[in-house]
């Protein structure tokens, strides 16, 4: 009796272990390609590569004439957050003023107007571009002082040289990790390095300094200058937009909870503009119109 119980429990252990572990426990693997569908796609791609002619895919067909302006304001709905100081761990003499480290800039709300600073608003695809909004060759000074990038969010056009300057007496390195543009360069104290983004980015690319990890900023290279960054009072303006065309506008903020930093809104004003889950909306402007959109942004749209 005792023996049989013993032998029973002896076998029971591996058996239970085996059954609980199961076979082929692989964790989460996602989808497996459907071979049949893949074959069909391959056939279609094969023939299209043979008949590769003028690809009319890029750029929507233009339909309207004239130009218009989009402007607006983003205001914070809730108690404005207080920014904590950067965690300055080295080069204290340079990176702090009177021993005080500078404040972070992850979500800047003006206490008087409740305007949200550094919201980026830009046109995703422009069927027509006004001569004033074409790519520029004008160099832009991109300075860093007291271990802070002085321009926190900077849109620019592709081909526009950035003069990366180091106004500190310690060395920096500017590390830009975009999806299409990359740079990682030391910038000696007091020196300047020129860098020209060559490709358009769909969303702002992070700019960091590996030596001072708290240093953080963003650049957004675009093919045209249909972009704006909100100022302290939360306002922005994009002039000379093509009228009579459907324009898709992307709205981005570094602390927004939407995918990739898209600012997702579900307020009534946003719904009226068919705001999407990616932080985009569509508008069509009339010739010489100045359209104004004012948006209240709830706390929940940002990471806490």
């Amino acid at each position: 009796m005792t023996n049989s119980i013993k032998s029973g429990s002896f076998w029971l252990v591996p058996c239970v272990v085996w059954l609980t572990c199961g076979c082929g426990e692989r964790g989460y693997i996602g989808p497996v390609a459907d071979s049949q569908a893949a074959m069909e796609i391959r056939k279609a791609l094969d023939t299209s590569s043979g008949a590769d002619g003028e690809g009319g895919a890029a750029g929507a067909a233009s339909s309207g004439t004239g130009w218009a302006t989009l402007k607006g304001r983003f205001t914070f709905d809730g108690t404005p957050p207080t920014m904590t100081p950067y965690d300055v761990t080295k080069d204290l003499a340079t990176c702090t003023s009177n021993g005080k480290p500078p404040l972070q800039q992850t979500l800047l709300v003006d206490s008087a107007t409740k305007g949200i600073k550094n919201v980026v608003v830009f046109v995703r695809k422009a069927p027509r571009v006004h001569e004033s909004a074409g790519p520029s060759k004008e160099p832009i000074l991109y300075d860093q002082k007291e271990c802070v990038f002085l321009t926190h969010v900077l849109p620019l056009t592709v081909g526009q040289p950035l003069q990366l300057k180091n106004s500190d007496n310690v060395g920096h390195n500017t590390n830009i990790q975009g999806k299409k543009n990359g740079l990682n360069q030391t910038i000696p104290a007091g020196d300047t390095v020129s860098f020209t983004p060559q490709k358009e980015e769909a969303l702002p690319a992070p700019v960091n300094c590996s030596i001072h990890p708290w240093m953080s900023a963003y650049i957004l290279p675009r093919d045209n200058s249909y972009y704006a960054v909100t100022t302290e009072d939360g306002t922005f303006e994009i002039p000379n937009l093509p009228a009579g065309e459907e324009l898709e506008i992307q709205v981005w903020h570094e602390s927004a909870t939407g995918p990739g930093g898209g600012l997702v809104l579900s307020t009534p004003e946003a719904k009226a503009n068919k705001w999407s889950k990616k932080g985009r909306f569509k508008i069509q402007l009339k010739q010489d119109e100045t359209k104004e959109i004012n948006l209240n942004v709830p706390e929940t749209a940002f990471r806490s």
Partner: protein, 439 residues
């Protein structure tokens, strides 16, 4: 008594059957999707499937690779490297990648093979097509020769061995396969970006599927934009090679000349011009800035941060339900459900990722240089930095531009770095121990 005997016997029988029977036929090997990218871009399951389908249409399967003519990849070499491991009657090896590479780098080249978790540094994830040890400018792809050199020499100080004893044709096939897995990974990320940017479900529930079979525009984008962009990057690598001016390469220096160069390099190393000290530390042991990440680990950190932020978001969304009318509450509830689902997905994907590690600056006193110890290898590191890592460059950013360090200064740094392992401080010294005290 009998009853007990029966139970134990039947349990024994089941166990034996399970062990003998195993888990049925071996599972089919397939390319696992890049779920980190999929989930962080909120790609819906239907799109995940469609992306996997398109990528298989372009690149085939681990057993049967396929290529498009514009990829300029050699299908014969890929077939040689792909598939299960077997030997033919002449003793020729097949399935080279799975034989030599997959256990660390994974079937799809994600750097998460079964042994990856035990290694430090982790094996390279090929999918972003970023490689550290190469001859080209920082953001450029490596050349075929660069990948070949890594396979031949291995990477000193890491688990990556040398494959120089393999027949040359096998090494060449593996290099081609690494390029193939890289392009495949790039294409997957590009397709995810395309779906995220251009397709998706509108608020009216209308869904544009990713199906190039009956969509000429999608075909044009996939081949003419996404794939063309990826291939162009690989094709232009040979033009991006950093070749120092032959006249500037210091030829045989006398001992005095070398000592002078080393001295100048030392001043640069510790000064605010080259800034090496900031990361490699005042001792050169790599004890400076240690809390940054390379791009591969940073991607995991970013994903973990997104996961960690979700519970807070769920909480604030829940709290926002107070004093709202019925319709608004309904909308918020829908939002909450989506957030909870996203959290569950994030957690599942996160379980699969390797715990992120900081990028520790190299200890330059060991004399182990992962990217090669030739002066030229170190020259290129100082010139353009190390792709994917916090290590910046001091030479020109692009061919023809002006760097912050002159060519002469870069060579002085090379000389100093090469001298560091031989400094007295780097050598073990005999401790003067009073053994009488110990005894």
């Amino acid at each position: 008594m009998t009853k007990h005997h029966l139970t134990s016997k039947s349990i024994a029988l089941v166990t034996v059957l399970l062990i003998v029977g195993g888990c049925g036929p071996p599972e089919q090997v397939f390319f696992q999707s890049n779920m980190r990218e999929m989930v962080s871009n909120q790609i819906a399951p239907k799109y995940q499937q469609e992306i996997a389908n398109v990528n298989e249409a372009l690149f085939g399967t681990p057993d049967e690779p396929s290529v498009m003519p514009e990829m300029k990849l050699d299908i014969k070499q890929l077939q040689f490297a792909a598939g299960p491991v077997w030997d033919d009657q002449q003793g020729g090896s097949h399935g080279l990648y799975r034989k030599h590479c997959a256990h660390c780098h994974g079937i799809n080249g994600d750097g998460r093979g079964p042994t990856a978790q035990f290694l430090n540094p982790y094996p390279r994830d090929y999918r972003p097509a970023i490689f550290k040890f190469k001859s080209t400018y920082n953001p450029a792809r490596p050349t075929t020769e660069d990948l070949h050199r890594v396979l031949m020499n291995g990477i000193p100080g890491t688990a990556m061995p040398s494959f120089s004893l393999l027949p040359p044709a096998e090494v060449a096939a593996l290099v081609e396969y690494v390029k193939y897995l890289s392009m495949r990974g790039q294409m997957e990320t590009s397709l995810i970006g395309y779906v995220f940017d251009e397709l998706g479900e509108g608020d009216d529930g209308e869904r544009i599927s990713l199906n190039p079979v009956n969509d000429a525009e999608q075909r044009e984008v996939i081949l003419g934009e996404l794939l063309a962009d990826i291939v162009a990057g690989w094709e232009e690598a040979p033009e991006q090679v950093i070749d120092p001016d032959p006249d500037a390469i210091p030829a045989d220096k006398t001992a005095e000349q070398l000592a002078l160069s080393v001295d100048k390099g030392r001043v640069l190393f510790y000064g605010t011009k080259a800034n090496c000290i900031k990361c490699h530390g005042p001792t050169g042991l790599g004890d400076g800035q240690q809390d940054d990440y390379n791009v591969w680990n940073k991607a995991v950190v970013t994903f973990e941060e997104a996961t960690a932020a979700l519970p807070g978001q769920i909480k604030t969304t829940k709290a926002s339900m107070r004093d709202k009318d019925q319709d608004q509450k309904k909308a918020i509830k829908k939002e909450l459900a989506a957030l909870n689902q996203s959290l569950a997905l994030h957690k599942r994907v996160q379980e699969e990722l390797l715990p992120p590690r900081n990028a520790i600056p190299r200890n330059l006193r060991q004399g182990t240089f992962r990217g090669g110890r030739r002066p030229l290898d170190i020259y290129r590191k100082v010139y353009t930095g190390i792709a994917g890592t916090p290590m910046p460059g001091g030479g020109p950013v692009t061919p023809g531009a002006k760097g912050t360090l002159s060519d002469e200064e870069i060579w002085q740094l090379v000389d100093y770095v090469r001298s560091l392992p031989f400094e007295p401080a780097s050598q073990p010294t005999r401790l003067r121990i009073n053994y009488d005290v110990l005894n």
